[in-house]
Symmetry: C2
Subunit: 332 residues, 2 copies
C-alpha cells in the first residue's frame, strides 16, 4: 500500500519544484485574501527549574559569518569544513549563538553574563544584542536584578552591562567579576602590550567598568556567590575565565560559559583551539577535564555558545564528546 | 592555575547543596525586595523559511506520563529504559510532544494537523491542547487559514479542528484528508469491530467531521496539494497515514507526521513498534524506507513527536538512526 520509494520521493520533490507552473490538483476553493508572512521570530527565552531555582535562558541572538581561515587556530580549514558537514551545517560558514542566563534563587534575581549590548544591537540591526529585549519578553526587569555575575570580560559577556547611553543597564545590581579576570584586563601594562585584535576589548572593559565607577565585587573560584551558585575557575579561554555550578535539591547544571565555543566543532574536537581562546593549550586542558567530568557525572550543561536554549548532556564519543540537547518543555 | 578537578567539582556541588545553611561569601549587599519567580514558559512557536515559504512550528504541548509496559509493543521494558537512559531521559517515564506546523506559501496559509483540541486543553490544565493559544502568539489567525491538511485521524492531529463549543476552529478553511484514512475511519463496520482502545478515536472522528458537515476534500499520495506541498503515503501508523514534502527554491523539508514517535526510541530503534502503530510491521517498513532516504539525501525532517521545535537531520548509526536537531535561529 505504501507508495513511498526513492524515485517517488524525488519525483514528488521535482513536482513541488515546478510548483509555479502547475495548478494545485486539489484545494481549488477560491483563496481568501492571502495572509502576509509574519516575518518575525519568537522571542528568544526559555525557562526551566533547577530544584527551587528558576533559570531563564535569554538569548542575545547569533552572529552569522564566513568561516575565517584561523577560526580554529590549530586545524586546517578543510577539516573544519568536514566537521561542519558532519553536523549538517553549511560549508565555509559558522554561526555563533550567545545565550546568557538569569537565575531566580528564590531570594535573589541574578543575571549571569549580559550579551553584546546596545551598540552591537544597532549595528547588527537586531541580529545580536537582543538580550535586554528578550529579558523584558521573559517577564524580567533589569531594575529588579540584584546581582550580575560575569564569567569573563569578552565583549559578548560584558557589553550588556551598559545601555545605549553608556549607563549601567542593571541600575540596582551588585556586579561580581572573577579576580583574575579583573587583574588581567585592568593592568595598564597588559593593555599597552595587547595585540591589535585585543585592543578593542581592553577599551570596552574600561568603558563598561568606568560606567560603574569601577565598583565591582571580585570573586575567586570555589566560592558560593549566592545560595546555590558556586564559582569554578576554568582558566584558559581568558586568564580569569570562570564557570558556575547551579545546584538546588537534587538538580545541578554546569554553566560552562566559554569552555567550548559551538559544540559541533569544539566538543566534538576538544583538541581544537578557537581563535578566541587566549591560551589555547590551557583552554584545551580545562575543556577536556570539565567534559570528562560532565560525561562521568551525566551532569547537565548550559553553554553560552550552544544553540539556544543551549542546555545539553555530554557523553564521550571517540576522541571527542557528543552533546544531546535537553528536550524543550512546553510547560514549566 | 585552573582549580578544576573532580574532587573540586563535587565539593562545589556539595557546597551548593548545603546552601540553605550557609551565608553567601560575597554578594552581601542588602537584597532588593525579591522578584518573584515568573513561572511561565515561552510561547511555543518557532519560525523558519523553506525558500519563499514561511513555516511556523506551533506546539500543542506535551504529554508527560509513566512508561506503559506495552508502550513499545515488541520490546522489553528494561530495554526501553536502557534507551531512555542513553538519551539522558528519566527511567520509567516518557513525554510525548505534539508539534503541528503552519505554512504560508505566499499565496495561501495552510495548517498541517491541529493538536489535541480544547477539551484536552481544559482537562490537562494547559499542558496539552496549547495549539490555538500558541497560534495566536505566533501572529497567526485561524480565521485566515485557507486550508487544513490532516496527516491522519488520531486525536492529537484532528482534535484542534473544533473549538470548545464543538464548532469548526478554522472557519474559512478547506479541510483536506487522506482518502484511505477517510475510508477506514468512516466505515461503520470498522467502527463496530474496533477494539476498546480505538472506540474513543472513532467517536472523535465522527464528532469532528460531523461538525464540518462531513465537507472534506479527499487526497491521495503523490499529489501537489498546494504550490510546494506534496503528499506522500506513509501507511502503517494508521491505514491512511500521510507525510508531506515542502519544497521551495533550493530548500526541502519532510513533514513526517508519525513515521516515528519520539526519536530517541523509534529513530534510534526503528524496529520498535509504538503502541500507537496500528500496523506495526507496515509502519516499520515505512519508517526504515523513509529514514534511509532522509539519511541518503541529507534531507531535513520536521517531525510531529520530536521535541519542539522538532526540526532535525538524520543519519544512519549502527542498526538505527541518529537525529541532530537543527540549531535554533534567533532571527528569521
Amino acid at each position: 500500500m505504501t507508495q513511498l520509494n526513492r524515485r517517488h520521493l524525488l519525483s514528488a520533490a521535482a513536482l513541488a519544484g515546478a510548483a509555479g507552473a502547475l495548478a494545485p490538483l486539489v484545494g481549488t476553493t477560491p483563496a481568501l485574501a492571502a495572509a502576509p508572512p509574519v516575518g518575525k521570530q519568537a522571542a528568544g527565552w526559555y525557562r526551566y527549574k533547577i530544584g527551587d531555582m528558576e533559570v531563564t535562558v535569554v538569548t542575545d541572538g547569533a552572529r552569522p559569518g564566513p568561516l575565517a581561515d584561523n577560526f580554529v587556530a590549530n586545524a586546517k580549514k578543510e577539516d573544519v569544513n568536514k566537521a561542519l558537514e558532519a553536523a549538517f551545517m553549511e560549508k565555509d560558514k559558522v554561526t555563533i549563538p550567545f545565550n546568557p542566563v538569569v537565575v531566580n534563587t528564590g531570594g535573589k534575581l541574578i543575571a549571569i553574563d549580559t550579551g553584546l549590548g546596545a551598540a552591537v544591537n544597532a549595528q547588527s540591526k537586531g541580529a545580536m544584542g537582543q538580550y535586554h529585549t528578550n529579558l523584558t519578553a521573559a517577564g524580567l526587569d533589569a531594575k529588579n536584578v540584584d546581582m550580575v555575575i560575569i564569567s569573563h570580560f569578552h565583549g559578548d559577556h560584558i557589553g550588556g552591562l551598559i545601555n545605549a547611553e553608556g549607563k549601567p543597564a542593571f541600575a540596582n545590581a551588585e556586579i561580581l567579576v572573577p579576580s583574575a579576570e579583573w587583574a588581567y584586563w585592568t593592568d595598564e601594562g597588559n593593555a599597552s602590550r595587547a595585540p591589535e585584535g585585543l585592543k578593542g576589548n581592553f577599551a570596552l572593559v574600561k568603558k563598561v567598568f568606568d560606567a560603574h565607577g569601577n565598583k565591582v565585587t571580585k570573586y575567586e573560584g570555589g566560592k558560593e556567590l549566592a545560595p546555590g551558585i558556586t564559582s569554578m575557575s576554568t582558566f584558559g579561554h581568558t586568564p580569569g575565565h570562570t564557570s558556575h555550578v547551579l545546584s538546588s535539591g537534587k538538580s545541578t547544571v554546569m554553566l560552562q560559559a566559554d569552555v567550548t565555543n559551538v559544540p559541533y566543532l569544539f566538543a566534538r574536537h576538544p583538541g581544537w583551539h578557537a581563535v578566541f581562546d587566549m591560551d589555547g593549550k590551557m583552554a584545551e586542558e580545562t575543556r577536556r577535564k570539565l567534559y570528562d567530568q560532565l560525561a562521568a557525572d551525566r551532569m547537565m550543561v548550559q553553554a553560552y555558545h550552544y544553540p539556544f536554549p543551549s542546555v545539553a548532556h555530554v557523553e564521550k564519543d571517540g576522541n571527542g564528546y557528543r552533546t544531546t540537547p535537553a528536550p524543550w518543555s512546553p510547560s514549566i
